[in-house]
Amino acid sequence: MPKYGMVIDLDKCFGCRACMVACKVENNTPEKHFWMYVFRLEQGEYPNARVSFLPRPCMHCENAPCVKVCPVKARYHEEGGFVATDWDRCIGCRYCAVACPYGVNNFNWTKPEESQYLNWDDPDLIPLTDGHLPYANPDLEGRYGSKNRRVAGSNHQHGVMEKCTFCIHRVEKGLDPACVANCPAFALHFGDLDDPESNVSLQLERKQSWRLLEDDDTDPKVHYVGGAPPNEEVRQIETVKVSE
């Protein structure tokens, strides 16, 4: 059984946020939800300021705090190393969000049909959508993983917790996650961490790597190469405008 992971090359990332857009389009995530988020950071003062970028998907931790605390096993380890959320089981207690040190969980605070960027009732848009509502993508209505659960980006429900799935629905078809496939700088790599010949293993061999909040012993499966772990001297310079 493969152990899927991601390698993010910070020397290549230039903060275009194409991965964020690709994730949104692929998973139809509601307004304000970013399963993949790219922090734009700055360190030092002008004229010696330095800008850096930090893409942050779910870390799909081997020792995931969210999996431990979920009272109903809605958050669970899927074969292949995915940390998945069963949307038909989540009670919306948000204990996973409290326990996760990375802040990658998104609760559906509103009805998904009311939390889209466009007014999908607009008659001009109906020919484009063919009558399908964007939060209920029929292409993703299947069940995924060995446990055959509904874990991917379709029929987003009010009152349920969501997060990055490593695009399990794409990986099952042999594709890379949407963020990886759409990165113009080839900064994101996805593959089997246990396979020494895989793209991710080769990336990890070439450069020194680190993981986010490594001291927390969560054993994340997202590795960074290049750059440096963020510290308290780094500040965020620009946030995504999520609502009016």
Binding site: F39, L41, P65, V67, K68, V69, C70, P71, V72, K73, R89, C90, I91, G92, C93, R94, Y95, A97, V98, A99, C100, P101, Y102, G103, N105, N106, F107, N108, W109, T110, K111, E114, H158, G159, V160, M161, L212, L213, D216, T218, P230, N231, E232, V234, R235, Q236
Partner: protein
């Protein structure tokens, strides 16, 4: 014993009672309307966010679990510790314990995204590594024990209890007392303490701290009940000496809680621990009003109790009410301060203020259990008639 029993006599008129019930009913209706709005429209009507997922509802839940445990222990004093002078309070304390537990569960119910799924926990769905599984299991068990104990207490007050009923009541009390302290509230404390991302909560001291504040709030609630009942019924429910004894118990728990708070502060202050320092900054910047209520309330309550030489029931009741406010402020501060430090070092401290919807729904829950208590104490026999008790009073 200076205790006087008075059946269900009341010093206030029926009009006064109905006005009180009407007032509570209005708050319940407003809360219910806002709960329906929140359910149909979404939890975005609360002040919560992905960065700050737990707020006033969780504070209410923790407060009432604690109150339930503490009040129940007062109700079981007669059985568990042979304190016969607490007998007139026993049935009321069990009622307060049960209603507080119901309030705690209602607070969780309004907080979660799906109530129909929540009720499957823990019998149908459960996760053995989640503290939530153990806390929810303990609420079912404790609720059943409390309901049985209350049923037996009502039989005793009606004079219908057999010797077998009294033996069962005694054994239930012996089991329920440690259960209330250790299992019920310590597991609730563990719920917070095991949250990986929240360094401020991640302390082995938190479960015992929770248990101490639970005992403090439960005892203080029952002091308030004794005080208010004496005003409403115009007759002392328990003797001044018993109220003073409860005051001493509250003072002891305030001292213990303050002791833990103080050493928490010292450790965070001088260990230069990032999350702890951030949390304390949050407490004394955004949350300074509640922090002042927390610290000032403890000091004021302790001062009144220790210097109330005349053992005035009114002053002791006021001290109990103040310590309840302080305990509530502590619960809110704990919930808020644990989530205030940013998860990643470059993010900013997180702010939270409860919304009108959260406040009205919370007030509705409190009003609902107060209403239930008011009606129950009106229609059910709350004091044991003269005659043999479980054990003979100590001279």
């Amino acid at each position: 014993m200076a205790t006087r029993t008075m059946g269900n006599r009341t010093a206030i008129s029926n009009y006064g009672f109905y006005a009180w019930i009407g007032f509570l009913a209005v708050i319940v209706v407003i809360g219910f309307i806002n709960f329906i709005r929140q359910t149909t429209d979404g939890h975005h009507l609360t002040g919560l966010s992905d960065a700050f997922p737990w707020g006033l509802y969780i504070t209410g839940f923790v407060f009432f679990v604690g109150a339930s445990a503490g009040a129940t222990i007062i109700g079981l004093m007669i059985h568990a510790f042979g304190r016969d002078d607490y007998a007139p309070l026993a049935t009321r304390a069990l009622l307060v314990g049960l209603l507080s537990l119901i309030a705690a569960v209602l607070f969780i119910a309004v907080d979660v995204g799906s109530i129909p799924r929540m009720v499957r926990l823990p019998l149908i769905w459960r996760n053995e590594t989640s503290m939530f599984t153990y806390t929810s299991s303990s609420y079912y068990v404790f609720g059943a024990m409390l309901a049985a104990e209350l049923y037996l207490a009502l039989k005793i007050t009606r004079g219908e209890a057999t010797d077998g009923d009294r033996t069962v009541a005694k054994w239930l009390a012996i089991i329920a007392t440690p259960f209330a302290i250790i299992v019920l509230h310590a597991t609730t404390g563990s719920l917070f303490a095991v949250a990986k991302a929240r360094d401020f909560w991640s302390s082995p001291l938190l479960p015992p701290h929770f248990a101490v504040v639970a005992l403090l709030s439960g005892t203080a609630i029952m002091m308030c009940v004794a005080w208010v009942t004496s005003i409403v019924n115009g007759v002392e429910l328990v003797s001044k000496r018993t109220v003073a004894h409860m005051g001493a118990v509250v003072a002891l728990f305030i001292t213990l809680a303050a002791f833990m708070d103080f050493f928490d502060f010292i450790v965070y202050k001088y260990s230069d621990e990032y999350a702890g320092n951030e949390a304390f900054h949050a407490l004394w910047s955004d949350g300074w009003i509640l922090s002042s209520l927390h610290v000032g309330g403890y000091v004021a309550a302790l001062t009144i109790i220790l210097f109330n030489r005349g053992r005035s029931v009114g002053l002791l009741g006021a001290a109990a009410a103040i310590s309840l406010v302080a305990a509530g402020a502590y619960r809110f501060n704990l919930t808020a301060a644990g989530q205030a430090p940013p998860l990643l070092p470059f993010l900013e401290r997180i702010h939270y203020s409860p919304s009108w919807v959260e406040i009205s729904v919370s007030a509705g829950i409190v009003a609902l259990i107060t209403l239930a208590y008011s009606v129950a104490t009106r229609v059910l026999p709350m004091e044991e008639p003269a005659g043999p008790r479980l054990s003979e009073p100590k001279m």
